[in-house]
Symmetry: C2
Subunit: 140 residues, 2 copies
Amino acid sequence: MSELNSSVALLIQSASLWSQLIKRADSQLSVHGISFTEFSILHCLAQAPLQQLSRIELANTVGLSASGVTRLLLPLEKIHLVEKAQIARDARVSLVKLTSTGMQIYQDALPTLSYCAEQFTSPLTSRQQEQLSDLLGRLS
Amino acid sequence: MSELNSSVALLIQSASLWSQLIKRADSQLSVHGISFTEFSILHCLAQAPLQQLSRIELANTVGLSASGVTRLLLPLEKIHLVEKAQIARDARVSLVKLTSTGMQIYQDALPTLSYCAEQFTSPLTSRQQEQLSDLLGRLS
DNA sequence: GATAAATGGTTGCGTAGTCAAGTATATTGC
DNA sequence: GCAATATACTTGACTACGCAACCATTTATC
């Protein structure tokens, strides 16, 4: 049973850690008027070629359901951080494109979140941070 | 900017990873009639001395807000997995105590979640899993 | 020992997100 | 070329939270 316990204990500890991290990130990002999840979306779009992705691609990248993406994009469209685009090949897909305003907000918010991430990983040496990054990268 | 990017990219990748993990855990735990968060609560209580904790301690341990704990406990009380208890010293605190039914459900669910955790960490060698556990343990 | 401040907890209200079902378009099998 | 199936969403209804405001009790201050 203590075999079972150690992996499960790690999981539960991670849950607590993660929820605290997200709360802090949300709180710090609120200066820019966006949440962590919204930032994630801006980030994925900013990295994408032409700064655009389909909603399904976006959902897979940020780990949300399709409907979650639909709902999250509504306010972002309303304040013109992203806009819809079509693709001729397939009338089903509705592309999401980062606007220049959206890119601006993203770039403003990037150092804020980066600082937050550093605060969080500061108990680790930079060597350990690399290790952690590497290990997490191997998980799926 | 690519300096900023690497830490932030890791964070966003972790978010996606985490949400997928929780979805899988919830889905597998549904056999036992509980969610991952509910399991977390049972787990914390099972580890605690006398299998009881105050609501605030519980909130801190699982990373929820106080109100989150209040609401989560309601259904658990209703199906008698946990019960309320008083402490004479302080009439404000309301202890939460794991019932024997609750302990049973916890022990039934433990291997399920453990299997889920193993599935998740299976891309890593056991040496790497230890490293990961160690690194995460150092974060707060 | 009365008043102020802190702590433990609950409730109202709002937001984020899920799943199941529906719609529109594309693709496949015959 | 047309039915069947799959894909890309959207919507309705619901759950899971968080925050702010609120009691109740305890502790500190004077």
